[in-house]
Amino acid sequence: MHRHLQKIIWSAVLMIMGIGLLALYSATYGNVRVTQEVFYDQSLCALVGVGLMFILSRVDYRKFFDAAYIFYGLNVLLLLGVLAAGRYAMGAKRWMELGAFSFQPSELMKLALILALGRYFSNRRPSLSFNLRSRVGVVWGDLVCPFLMAALPMALVFKQPDLGTAFLIFGVFLVILFASGLEYRYLVWFMILCVSAVPVIWYFLKGYQKMRLLVFLNPNIDPLGAGYTIIQSKIAVGSGGLFGKGWLAGTQNQLNFLPERHTDFIFSVIGEEWGLVGTIVTIGCFFILAHSGLNIAQNQKDRFGMLVTAGIVAILTLQVVVNVGMVMGLFPVVGITLPLISYGRSSFMVFVLMVGFLLNLSKRRTVF
């Protein structure tokens, strides 16, 4: 069973990486703004990533349990450091310089939070008692404490500003809360509270973020500015048809109509050049990954493993759905990468770690 699952995960991941590299090659082919060095860089990342996944799948995952809080704490410090001394790029402070390398702590934070929340809830069983005192304890312990754990990095990421990642962190928090077995009524209350907070959040949004949300609602209000990206990527995906225009032959891509097509909008290259066949295969690979993750979670005897797996599946699914939805014009442009396909070392390596974790858990299941 587990060997079978492992093979499936390995093949899905390699397939995704392969598709990603081919798409990236095309996206940078003849691109005036981005050189093909990006492609070689990502290829190197993929090689390193495959090795890393192989090693991770053989490490005792309990070590992650032990390190979860420290990892989380360090990550919060890094986020603070980014705000204090990060590198400015594209209107946001997201990068941390570490010698020759630079990376985004916000990407790493996703994994750190999953591990920390996983450890937090692994020690707690949601209370089923009915007296008032214990209810207050439940609300504090099961809801407020973990919420603060998520809210701190969320606020820091939001400040960068990186609305998309902040939203993802919140999504992961909700899913882990749900998976931990919190009573539905608490969940419902919590959701009502969140919705009523929306106007307050709107007040704190940056001008360009408000603009993006408005443009999402109607791309035609700014066809050459914020709406341009949505319109062009929609044209790219739609014009691909069933089989696409062929690799390196997408006109939207090759003639520079698609901005950011090597990072957030790489899915539009896949859609244009490989058509519906290419997009469904890509989405299918991600689905297989998510599905395998859920199989692992379902068969976990260990709550930490189950919660972490659920968190990983959640973040993977959310990123794929939001990114593809964004490219198709279904979601606002929020700067969320397509896992393992979009160019970006931080994002790529974090997902390598996550998949390595899945591989590890699929193996360890029998130990318990």
Partner: protein
């Protein structure tokens, strides 16, 4: 349990995404495909060079001159301010003016904008040398219509200009687009479809910045066809000189083929001023009170005066009302009721030939009353008056022949005897164009053979086939006395056109002095035909408000002398 719910949610999300992808790529696919195509393919039109216009011996009357243009490609422009500062300095033009032109004409980032046309060679070299400093700046060669003889044949040639909005609507199915250059008036307009180059085009692929990436297809534009006129430049120049500042018309046409050798209308204009794409002074000819744009030879309508007497004489002869020897007595006026209709002076007894030679009004008053207005109109129409000559030029006027029938629907309702008298000497409401009179005279000279006057000899080296001539139904017996009369005008010592008697030439014709309104000088006419051993021509000299017909006769004499000097007659 919770994991199961999560699984359902996740499956749902993926299915939703997959369905929306299917919708976008399959159902809306063709729509987005066409959008992507519009995004990256542009068609740029290339205008073919316009055909030239030549005189009958190959002299260029309308040519295409190579000019240099300063062109800016908006998509490649980087240092806009610097570039226009530089251009302003080099071309000695205000920067604001250049910028205004640029802003007005720019419509797509890939489409070159002409900011200044017709710059000097030196300026072109300076710009070429500095091109590297300003991306998007180019010097381009273009061809520009050029009329080397300026106002010499302006009405005949017409001019070219950008197509007007109403014309596009009319002609868009015939290969014209809003950028097309089209001929206005004259040969340029009438033969536009031959002169016009065939439009070519480039299909180019562009990128998101509008830069050309590659050429997908090219259709070479085709040069328009050269048009050779029947005009002889030497004659044309002579006619222009003869008219000088005098308003009027001279037409010279070959008798047997109807080829127009020269046609001048004065005042004239320089057609070159209409050619530049940006010009402010072009309203000048429109506001001039002398109407220089009017081609008086075919669009001007004037009373023919005594020239109409020929038509009246033909009518009376053909209808058998008189024979050529019938005399009437002229004592200087004709009394109709209380009113006296005057003659120039008392001619005494006149037969038909004398009456034509002396242009005796009284004689023709008698003829007019004998035949009546209806028959006079019939013969006028037989000779081509009141109808188009079908010359191959645009905006020809018909003229008009008054008659009792039209009066009934007009004013003053009644046709009076006085109207008949007026008509019989070509006064009053009778209107003709100079060309109609030349055609009429040629028909009489050729014993009733009517040719169609025309100005174009061949197009693209191929002779233009002329519609066969018509014979009008007039017998020799009626025509001969007329011709004798016309000859007597010149040959008779007392003939009104005796100044035209030139040794070696056989000239005939008729003078006319047409009333042109109270207190204004009358129009002076001479219409005739002349032959030497070499050539036979018909011609008209018309001087607008030129005074007595003697003035026209003197010009006609100069004309014939010049033609003889130039060995044409």
């Amino acid at each position: 349990m919770r994991i199961k719910i999560l699984r359902v949610i996740i499956i749902g999300l993926f299915v939703l995404v997959a369905f929306y992808l299917g919708y976008l790529q399959l159902i809306r696919g063709p729509y987005f495909y066409s959008l992507s195509k519009n995004n990256h393919i542009r068609v740029v039109s290339l205008e073919g060079q316009r055909g030239r216009i030549l005189d009958r011996y190959g002299a260029l009357l309308a040519d295409n001159r190579k000019v240099f243009e300063v062109v800016v490609i908006p998509g490649e422009l980087k240092d806009r301010e610097g570039l226009f500062d530089f251009l302003s300095q080099t071309l000695q033009v205000e920067k604001e003016k250049l910028l205004e032109t640029y802003n007005q004409k720019m419509y797509a980032s890939f489409a070159p904008v002409v900011v200044r046309e017709d710059i000097t060679r030196t300026q072109a070299i300076v710009i070429e040398e500095n091109k590297f400093r300003f991306p998007g700046l180019l010097v381009q060669e273009d061809y520009r219509r050029f009329y080397p003889y300026k106002d010499t044949a302006a009405h005949l040639l017409g001019y070219v200009g950008k197509i007007s909005r109403s014309k596009i609507e009319e002609l868009k199915n015939y290969g014209y687009n809003p950028q097309s250059v089209i001929g206005y008036s004259g040969v340029e307009e009438f033969y536009d479809r031959y002169l016009k180059g065939e439009e070519g085009g480039m299909q180019i692929e562009i990128n998101s910045r509008g830069e050309q990436v590659r050429l997908l297809g090219l259709k070479e534009p085709v040069k328009g066809q050269d048009v050779t006129l029947t005009i002889d430049l030497r004659i044309q120049q002579a006619l222009t000189e003869l008219l000088g500042n005098q308003r009027g018309v001279i037409i010279v046409m070959t008798l047997d083929s109807g080829e127009i050798l020269g046609v001048a209308s004065s005042p004239s204009y320089d057609p070159n001023i209409f050619v530049p794409k940006t010009n402010l002074s072009t309203s000048l000819p429109f506001s001039d009170s002398g109407s220089p744009l009017l081609n008086r030879a075919i669009s001007g309508q004037y009373p023919p005066g005594s020239i109409f007497k020929i038509s009246v004489a033909l009518c009376a002869l053909k209808e058998g009302r008189i024979n050529p020897h019938r005399t009437f007595h002229c004592n200087g006026y004709y009394k109709l009721g209380e009113r006296e209709f005057r003659c120039t002076h008392a001619h005494g007894d006149q037969d038909l030939i004398q009456a034509i030679a002396h242009s005796c009004n009284v004689y023709f008053y008698h003829l007019g009353l004998m035949v009546g207005p209806e028959l006079m109109e019939k013969y006028a129409r037989l000779l081509g008056l009141g109808a188009l000559s079908s010359v191959d030029l645009p905006y020809e006027a018909r003229g008009s022949i008054p008659n009792p029938r039209d009066r009934k629907i007009g004013y003053p309702k009644t046709w009076y005897q006085g109207d008949t008298l007026n008509l019989s000497i070509g006064q009053g409401e009778m209107l003709t164009t100079p060309l109609q009179l030349v055609q009429m005279m040629a028909t009489l000279a050729q014993n009733g053979k009517r040719v169609r006057p025309h100005v174009v000899k061949s197009i693209g080296g191929l002779e233009v086939s002329q519609s066969p001539y018509q014979m009008i139904s007039v017998d020799q017996k009626s025509l001969r006395p007329l011709q004798q009369g016309l000859e007597a005008v010149v040959s008779d010592d007392s003939g009104t056109g005796h100044v035209l008697a030139i040794p070696g030439l056989l000239t005939a014709g008729k003078t006319g002095t047409a009333q042109a309104g109270e207190g204004r000088s009358p129009h002076a006419w001479f219409v005739g035909y002349s032959s030497s051993g070499k050539n036979r021509i018909a011609f008209v000299v018309f001087l607008e408000h030129g005074g007595a017909s003697q003035n026209a006769c003197r010009v006609a004499r100069d004309l014939l002398m010049r033609l003889k000097e130039k060995d044409i007659l």
